[in-house]
């Protein structure tokens, strides 16, 4: 039997599916954060060069990776929405943006906290730091542009174009440390492997999985709210238990 992939592209069915997935992602995020932070801050050995300060890597690197990946996923959904006119794709793009912006902000913030004791500067206009700042502005621009247009379908199209154009920035962030000389060090985790100590690697991997789980849980919860808001005039919404009682649903 062929699987009907388009079944879950409809907000109607996806609403229920997302609701079932959220608890799993939320619980695994909580467990992974506890394990990752414990291993990162108490089990992993002290770094020979940077001492205890390097431990901020366990927050800095996963959030930076997520901020870039989420942008590509957001741009991908935005492009799907633009090409196929699927409602759910555009809703997913809008649901991802705030979480991506949060990760980009945490990445910049922990980077500054790490930079001051190690480099001697909170901020430096080098290629890596500047392009990550542009990523944060792209997220904020996407959210602001979407919010500034009243008709949600037109807002989707305008914001989608911004998201797609902005995706050019992501490879620039990734390769900035190779293309130019920067104060930021090169990538520790490369496609060819890593030189990192094994316990440090494990802590980093667990924190990365924790961030992914958190992102899934939050984005799915947010997309459910967006579905409720934007499909409020449809009949299926009023049949969801618990929703029909709200006066807004009957408008």
């Amino acid at each position: 039997m062929a699987i009907n992939w388009f079944k879950y592209a409809a907000p109607t069915t996806f609403y229920g599916l997302a609701g079932k997935m959220i608890p799993w992602f939320a619980v695994s995020a909580a467990l992974l954060f506890c394990a990752g932070l414990y291993i990162g801050f108490f089990v992993a050995p002290v770094d020979a060069q940077q001492g205890e300060f390097y431990r901020i890597i366990f927050i800095h690197v996963p959030t930076s990776i997520l901020s870039m990946f989420l942008y590509l996923i957001m741009a991908g959904y935005a492009a799907l929405g633009l090409v196929f006119n699927t409602r759910l794709s555009s809703m997913m793009a809008s649901a991802i943006a705030p979480t991506g912006a949060l990760f980009a902000f945490i990445s910049l913030w922990t980077g500054a906290l790490w930079g001051k004791p190690m480099w001697g500067a909170w901020w430096m206009w080098d290629a890596r730091l500047t392009s990550e700042l542009i990523l944060l502005f792209l997220y904020l621009g996407f959210i602001a542009l979407h919010a500034s247009i009243d008709d949600p379908r037109r807002a989707d199209r305008a914001a989608a174009l911004l998201a797609i154009v902005g995706s050019v920035n992501v490879p620039i962030i990734y390769f900035s440390v190779q293309w130019w000389n920067t104060l930021h060090q090169g990538s520790t985790i490369k496609f060819s492997g890593t030189t990192m100590h094994v316990v440090m690697q494990q802590a980093l991997l667990i924190m990365l999985l924790a961030c992914w789980s958190y992102a899934f849980a939050v984005v799915l919860a947010r997309v459910r709210s967006i579905i409720l808001e934007r499909e409020r005039n449809t009949t299926w919404i009023t049949q969801i238990p618990g929703v029909a009682e709200f006066p807004e649903a009957k408008r």
């Binding site: 480099w119 520790t188 100590h197």
Partner: protein, 166 residues
């Protein structure tokens, strides 16, 4: 473009063209700005006259081993910054970052004065992307030293002796 394309195919082509166009434009801009995006100049570039004259800029490189000298006032430090090909002497008055060490990377901002000495306004430490516990770093250093010693012994005593496990 064919006229019998479906609207969604047209939209897809439109997006592909926009992305390719923007990527090309950004690529050309970055290529034109190539030198300006770099955070610092290397000592070799300065000797090739690529660095600006009469205004502040940054040099990046290694602090040469054995070159760090502290003045009696306790604040002024002089050292040599090198890319192992060319080197520039630097004088700095201020507090150095914790990671400042001979043989490690730094980025120094300042002006090069007459006599080719850079008077630094800011010294930043640049660390590498390797993270390992102190024991692993020690083991690595010892292995390096042993390799160097083996090499020296090898070149000194020809014909080559078969290494014996100690």
């Amino acid at each position: 473009m064919k006229n019998n394309m479906k609207p969604r195919q047209k939209r897809f082509v439109f997006i592909a063209v926009v992305v390719a166009g923007v990527a090309l434009a950004v690529g050309l801009v970055l290529y034109a700005l190539k030198g300006n995006v770099n955070l610092y100049f290397t000592p070799t570039q300065i000797f090739n006259n690529e660095a600006p004259h009469g205004r502040s800029f940054r040099i990046g490189g290694l602090v040469q081993e054995g070159s760090v000298k502290r003045e009696p006032d306790g604040l002024t430090v002089s050292f040599v910054i090198t890319d192992t090909h060319k080197s520039i002497p630097v004088v700095y008055k201020g507090i150095l970052p914790d990671l400042f060490k001979e043989g490690k990377s730094v980025v120094v901002q300042g002006k090069v004065e007459a006599g080719g000495v850079m008077r630094a306004e800011e010294v930043l430490a640049k660390h590498d992307e390797n993270y390992m516990p102190a024991e692993a770093a020690d083991a690595l250093k010892k292995a390096e030293a042993a390799n160097a010693a083996d090499k020296a012994a090898l070149s000194a005593s020809a014909p080559v002796a078969v290494p014996v496990a100690k």
